[in-house]
Amino acid sequence: MTLRFDKLGVVIAAIVAYAAFLAPFATFRANRIVPGQARPILDALPPALGMLLLAIVVVGAIIALLRSPLIPRLAASVIALAALAMLIGTSGSFLTPAGNTFARVAPASGFWLLIFAFTLLLADVLTRLELAPWARVGVLAVAALAVGALLVSGSWDSLSILKEYASRADSFWAEGSKHITLALGSLAAAVVVGLPLGILCHRVDKLRAGVLNVLNIIQTIPSIALFGLLIAPLGWLAVHVPGAAAIGIRGIGTAPAFVALFLYSLLPVVANTVVGLAGVPRAANDAARGMGMTDRQRLFDVEFPLAFPVILTGIRIVLVQNIGLATIAALIGGGGFGVFVFQGVGQTAMDLVLLGALPTVALAFAAAIILDAVIEMTSTKRRADPA
């Protein structure tokens, strides 16, 4: 009998072999900025747990390597990821000398590669399972709950990123809420302005090219420059328009960041509204006209519902992009998770960078999955029920 290997499994097994046996699992540093010492799995964990983790990842890699059915592959990836997540915390407390508050233990390349390999396996299984949209959101919720439980249980508290968090817990949540306010608020403003503008562009041919060109040009201005350029006009407004300063308009800070994100958000919203409305079948419009619908009824009862999935796709692009761009706001004093990223880069403290970057990535990722699911639900519902 010849063994047949799974092609993706070969890639995963190669990564796991390198990560588990050659790469360091954790880094130990005497304080937060000195260079670290690498520790392989067996040195980073108590012997029994180290052997257990090695066994789990090796078995997981073999399951991935062979052409096994989906359920064992799913189980292998979930068990390996869970074991990695729990044991990196154990490694933190195992490596930190008792009572030493300066020592820092951080996950090292081997850990991240193992996470990557098994996430790849999990992603492959989930893709092949072709989950329904609500099921994908469910998987996301379970993963978020698991990470949340690990965070609350304190098993990661001895890791360096959470030590950075512990010394900034208050500002972390303050910057986090600013980040979300910036991303969601500018999206809301862009939808409120962009939808009518898109409808107008759809109806008035002359307007369309001009508006879309201007919005396209705005996209070419680099984000840090646009944020900077808005400082002056908003500063002027704050000084010269009565009441402007009272509602939070200032030259530096959140206001220019908000306006910049709003300007970047307009193009996808307007362009997708125009594309969505243009894609409404002529027959649907003719039928609506034949039934004696007014322009207004046609817009709200026919065109808009049919164009909705396309418009939603624009909103998804904007939301994911805004969550990422909001990190730049920190450069002009606008707050957000970018504060930690840029502070960390300035102090070459990578744990601090991670403290800002990981929540940003997680937020953008969650937003993408949820909106993709919503888009799929709205477009399949329409296809299944043509009423």
């Binding site: 799974d6 092609k7 993706l8 790849l120 992603a123 492959d124 989930l126 893709t127 092949r128 040009i217 996209q219 070419t220 201005i221 680099p222 984000s223 840090i224 420059a225 646009l226 900077g228 350029l229 400082i231 002056a232 994911v320 969550i323 990422g324 761009l325 990190t327 730049i328 450069l331 002009i332 970018g338 990223v341 840029f342 960390g344 880069v345 070459t348 990578m350 960078v353 991670l354 800002g356 970057a357 940003t360 990535v361 953008a364 990722f365 937003a367 993408a368 993709d372």
Partner: protein
């Protein structure tokens, strides 16, 4: 007269850009009102020309690397041998797009140090996605009758790829490269937060010293480059599409 107006505008923009980069001192009176307390109006910690060239070089290297890898990957997953990877590569591309550039940049620093390298990595990763997506779309939506004809004419798999599939996909792949270049031109400025020599340096110097003239000149040079390169690549794309007889929307 309408037909030549856009071309004339572009030409004017190009001339303006070249003159500005070559001898920015000519424009000092224009930018002076934006400065305060007698601060310099023209970036004086390095030549704008050098920074522009370095900026373009960074974008070029990253885009060439991204194009090679993305097209190779797209070819791989559309062959029978790599078909297993197709669904996964689609989801990976989707996931990859959710990573903010600042995060990629900052996380690359511990691995490769400060300077140009983390910027190249971030631009490379960011540039991959649009090119891969477009290459995949192009290679999976080739007209079936053309592929049948190529097979019927006795072409080998390699010949079909090089003589039929790639030339037919070229316009759509070029569209992906164009998107990727425009994104990279803007993203490269963020590279200056980790000490890469790009036009972002000018903008950041302006932000730090509260000098609006710096922010404006840095931002406008990048925007003008993006507009001109976007138009140039669109023209090449239209040419390629005409040669392939594919209609562009």
């Amino acid at each position: 007269m309408k037909a030549w107006l856009p071309a004339l505008l572009r030409l004017a923009l190009l001339v303006l850009l070249v003159v500005f980069i070559a001898s920015p001192a000519l424009f000092e009176p224009l930018l002076k009102p934006l400065t305060e307390n007698g601060a310099p109006a023209i970036y004086n910690q390095g030549s704008l020309l050098t920074l522009t060239l370095l900026h373009l070089r960074t974008v070029l290297i990253a885009t060439v690397a991204a194009t090679i890898v993305a097209v190779a990957l797209a070819i791989l997953v559309t062959r029978p041998a790599g078909a297993e990877f197709l669904p996964l590569s689609r989801s990976l591309v989707n996931i990859g797009q959710t990573f903010p550039p600042v995060a990629v940049l900052a996380l690359a620093v511990p691995a490769v140090g400060f300077g140009e390298k983390p910027t190249l990595i971030a631009l490379f990763l960011y540039g991959l996605l649009p090119i891969f997506e477009n290459a995949l779309t192009a290679l999976t939506t080739l007209p079936g009758n053309v592929m049948e004809a190529a097979r019927g004419a006795g072409m080998t798999g390699w010949q079909r790829l090089v003589k039929v599939e790639l030339p037919l996909s070229a316009p759509v792949i070029l569209g992906g490269i164009r998107l990727s270049v425009v994104i990279s031109l803007a993203t490269a400025t963020i590279g200056s937060t980790v000490a890469a020599k790009t036009l972002g340096e000018v903008i950041i110097a302006g932000l730090i010293s509260n000098n609006l003239a710096f922010v404006l000149q840095g931002g406008l040079i990048v925007a003008a480059l993006a507009v001109l390169i976007y138009d140039g690549l669109s023209a090449i794309e239209r040419y390629a599409a005409r040669r392939m007889g594919r209609e562009m929307q």
